[in-house]
């Protein structure tokens, strides 16, 4: 299974561990993620007014660079922007004409745009994944935290049911964890309000963590670096039973029995072989 891989800025910075663990696990699962050459920012936020065409330039350039091959990303925000930019290119002919003319590229909105979890669910299959697990996370009480960007708007994202998703729980089950459902798993963490309105993010994060704690979870998984930052930094957690936050891929690598040294080595090896392949 071969995919073009778009990392995005955060996966090369604060969320390097999400990339390392995913690349190592993907290699072990026989999923080939070939990093796009000379990729740039996904655009970071999808423009909600359709005349904000300048914000579409970098995501459309990325979509076109995948050349019709399935394009995979890991960061929830990158996936959100790329998926919605593709939908806009398919639907709004005028916008597509202007953007592709400006970029001097030919792009018609074709190709699958996937989050890595969708690759695991739809292409590999969670049953198959479960068979390949070497160190099941037995007795570990894990809850899914979906946040916003993977799920909504569901008509465009087509990731899962926006109110009652199951993909992350099914993923955790495949890893052998004890799955705990928390009612606040689809609520917003406060996003970048943690930068401008700290008090607001403190409230949203406290509700999410308290809800997970009450449900009995000892850990949460996320696919979003900003969700993780907020969950780890925005609420006063003093004296409370800790709820740890992990990238979904960290638990995946652990359940596949990949040690940190292995992960680093394989990630570096992958990078080297893709550099050789592209030169």
């Amino acid at each position: 299974m071969r995919y073009r891989y778009f990392p995005g800025c955060t996966l090369k910075g604060q969320a390097k561990n999400m990339e390392n663990t995913t690349l190592a696990a993907a290699t072990a699962l026989g999923i080939e993620l070939v990093e796009l050459e000379e990729w740039q920012c996904c655009g970071a936020v999808f423009p909600l007014y359709e005349d904000e065409l300048i914000s579409l330039l970098s995501p459309v350039r990325t979509l076109a660079a995948a050349e019709g091959e399935p394009l995979v990303s890991l960061c929830a925000a990158c996936h959100h922007v790329l998926k919605r930019a593709q939908e806009l290119m398919q639907r709004n002919e005028d916008a597509r004409h202007k953007v592709t003319e400006f970029l001097e590229i030919d792009y018609k909105g074709e190709g699958r745009v996937l989050h890595f979890l969708e690759v695991l669910r739809d292409d590999l299959g969670f049953d198959k994944l479960a068979e390949m697990i070497k160190k099941p996370l037995e007795g570990r009480k894990a809850a899914a935290y979906y946040g916003c960007l993977l799920l909504r708007p569901s008509k465009v994202m087509q990731f899962d049911d926006p109110e009652n998703p199951t993909i992350m729980e099914d993923f955790l089950q495949a890893l052998g964890a004890e799955v705990v459902k928390s009612p606040y798993r689809t609520e917003c963490c406060g996003a970048y309000l943690s930068v401008t309105e700290e008090g607001v993010a403190a409230d949203t994060v406290a509700r999410i963590l308290d809800s997970a704690r009450k449900a009995g979870a000892e850990m949460l998984i996320t696919a979003c670096p900003l969700c993780r930052y907020n969950l780890e930094n925005c609420a006063a957690e003093d004296g409370k039973e800790p709820v740890k936050v992990y990238y979904f891929s960290e638990l995946l690598a652990e359940a596949m029995g990949l040690q940190f040294d292995d992960l680093m080595a394989k990630a570096i090896e992958r990078r080297r072989s893709s550099d050789v392949g592209s030169s």
Partner: protein, 132 residues
């Protein structure tokens, strides 16, 4: 430009650029029940749509609410009229950023500690959202 022309401009632009027609809202307030950040808002989400219906643009442009909206899209997921309020909030913000106040937030507003710890994604999206 007269106040009246201004009022229609915001709503007309909104219809054209976001496909959202505030007059379709019947004020059930499910958006306000769904919104996770109403505690910090001076107008509730459904009230913002009501103000749009009434053409009360000046009041909307003074409100804190569009800047508190985190674009989490929960309101749109639950709207029985299939309206996307996040797009309307974006329209109010853009109206401010494009014509009135300029940039709202930049790197100088952050502490060195924040700059060190924040994920790159938060910095880029924050600057994109609050600047033009």
């Amino acid at each position: 430009m007269s106040a009246a022309a201004n009022k229609t401009r915001l709503v007309e632009e909104m219809k054209a650029q976001s496909g959202q027609d505030p007059s379709q809202c019947f004020q059930c307030a499910k958006c306000s029940a769904a919104c996770p950040v109403t505690a910090a808002m001076d107008l509730l989400p459904h009230q913002v749509i009501r103000y749009l219906q009434m053409g009360m643009e000046e009041e909307l442009l003074k409100s804190k609410t569009p800047w508190i909206c985190a674009s989490c899209f929960t309101c749109a997921a639950r709207c029985p009229r299939d309206l996307d309020l996040a797009r309307m909030m974006e329209g109010i913000r853009l109206s401010m950023l494009r014509c009135r106040e300029g940039n709202k937030f930049g790197p100088a507003d952050l502490t060195p500690e924040q700059l060190e710890k924040l994920p790159q994604q938060a910095l880029v999206s924050g600057f994109r959202k609050y600047n033009k």
